[in-house]
């Protein structure tokens, strides 16, 4: 029941608008690029200094000097450009990157996001996430609705150290698509196939706003 990672990525791909520049985080967000329709022209930015990320290379053309922010070997495409990390975050901070899609450990009903630290347990660092969520106009979170232990990840208030406040605009999980309203609250837009509103309500600790009929997600 609910979507797998591929399903989440497919649903998020529907949010991608023609003519935009997009930064994709590690994990599910990276998968999104596989499902963007051919008639939608977008350019993918990698914060380590590449605009126009191409597909993974064939074995014989691997270049150690060409990686994405997840340290995976990639390629350029016709029209790509390469630049420094300072220039890369000029693009991000300056609002030139229109959409950021990233994973999260928790999202609060006021749009706060936590995804960089578990005190005493995990100390990997925030990388570029704090810059990304503080900058892009549109932030979409891709994640599981609940943790492995079954706790809701959509909370009234984040329990983990946050990455940014009041920044998440939309959350797509294995169970639902929700807008985060400016005045607070997760407004339920769509259900995953076979998932009921009650199940979503039960899996959501933060305020869930349900108005009228909630349609199922549509996939081609």
């Amino acid at each position: 029941m609910g979507l797998d990672k591929i399903g989440i990525a497919k649903r998020i791909a529907q949010e991608v608008q023609d003519g935009t520049y997009i930064n994709l985080g590690i994990g599910i967000p990276t998968l999104v690029s596989n499902f963007i329709p051919d008639d939608i022209n977008v350019v993918l930015q990698s914060e380590n200094g590449l605009l126009g990320i191409g597909p993974f290379p064939e074995e014989e053309s691997i270049d150690a000097d060409l990686i994405n922010a997840g340290k995976q070997t990639v390629t350029t495409t016709a029209g790509s450009s390469l630049f420094s990390s300072a220039e890369s975050f000029e693009m991000i901070r300056g609002g030139h990157v229109h959409l950021t899609i990233l994973g999260a450990m928790e999202v609060s009903e006021s749009g706060d996001i936590a995804n960089w630290k578990i005190p005493g347990k995990m100390v990997k660092g925030m990388g570029g996430a704090m810059d990304l969520v503080a900058s892009a106009d549109n932030i979409i979170v891709a994640m599981q609705h609940c943790s492995r232990s079954g706790d809701s990840k959509l909370l009234k208030v984040c329990s983990l150290p946050i990455t940014g406040i009041a920044c998440v605009k939309k959350v797509v999980t294995d169970m639902a698509v929700m807008d985060v309203l400016p005045e607070g609250g997760f407004k339920l837009l769509e259900r995953a196939p076979g998932v009921s509103v009650e199940e979503i309500q039960q899996a959501t600790e933060g305020k869930l706003i349900v108005e009228g009929e909630i349609p199922e997600m549509q996939f081609d």
Binding site: S46, E47, N48, G49, L50, P55, F56, P57, E58, E59, I62, D63, A64, D65, L66, I67, N68, A69, G70, K71, Q72, T73, V74, L82, F83, S84, S85, A86, S88, F89, I92, R93, D112, K117, G120, V123, K124, G125, M126, G127, G128, A129, M130, D131, A134, S135, P161, I162, T163, G164, I165, A166
Partner: protein
């Protein structure tokens, strides 16, 4: 032009003392100064503060200097993929400043550019904001962040000329250009060292003015962290 050539990595790092503040270029293992790191290991200096976006992996890059406990403090944005690092951090052997990647890049750029402080929105409302001046511009809150400078910056480029001009390749550019400008002494190691005039002045990424020492590295392993391919 001014000749900046030194014989090799050992000569380039000869006068770096214990407790120096170093910047080291690279993103992950991409674009790191492999030869200079090896020379720092041979030299065995201790108590270093290393400013670098990442801390290498357990057995390559700055990770090697963590194994030998030459590093007192890391200033980075992301330090995953490194078990020894995590061990030293949790045990308190290693000090760590974690900084948002864009703020790190801009603070280093500011160090080279003579900008002592600037406002950025990244990190507002988070742990990163603790103790920092906050100010609102156009309805959005920002933090005041200060420049970062280094006693020695160590960068890696693809090609360089004897007067210190550098060209990077692919995403191996990353933090190298800003670090080159932010070091009191900047050491550049390159894959190919050429004579002045052989590089197109219009395509220089780091003008020679920022570089005090340059040498051609002996070999580059260029280890790949995530080898990902597609089937033809």
């Amino acid at each position: 032009m001014i000749n900046k050539v030194v014989a090799n990595a050992d000569e380039a790092v000869r006068d770096i003392p214990d407790n120096a503040v170093l910047m080291l270029g690279g993103f992950g293992l991409c674009g790191i100064p492999e030869n200079s790191i090896a020379a720092l290991l041979r030299k065995g200096i201790k108590g270093l503060t290393c400013i670098s976006n990442n801390a290498g992996v357990d057995d390559f890059g700055i990770g090697l200097m963590l194994q030998t406990k030459q590093v007192k403090k890391m200033i980075s944005s992301y330090v995953g993929e490194n078990a020894e690092f995590e061990r030293q951090l949790l045990s308190g052997e290693l000090e760590v400043d974690l900084i948002p990647q864009g703020t790190l890049a801009e603070r280093i750029r500011a160090g080279g550019a003579g900008i002592p402080a600037f406002f950025t929105p990244a990190g507002y409302g988070t742990e990163v904001a603790e103790g920092k001046e906050v100010r609102e511009f156009n309805g959005k809150m920002h933090l005041l962040e200060s420049w970062l400078k280094a006693d020695f910056s160590i960068v890696k480029a693809w090609k360089g000329d004897t007067s210190g001009n550098l060209i990077y390749k692919g995403t191996a550019r990353n933090f190298n250009p800003m670090m080159a400008a932010a070091g009191k002494i900047t050491i550049a190691e390159v894959e190919e060292l050429v004579e002045p005039g052989e590089l197109d002045p219009n395509n220089i990424h780091t003008p020679g003015i920022y570089v005090q020492r340059i040498f051609q590295g002996e070999q580059y392993e260029k280890r790949i962290e995530q080898r990902t391919t597609r089937i033809r």
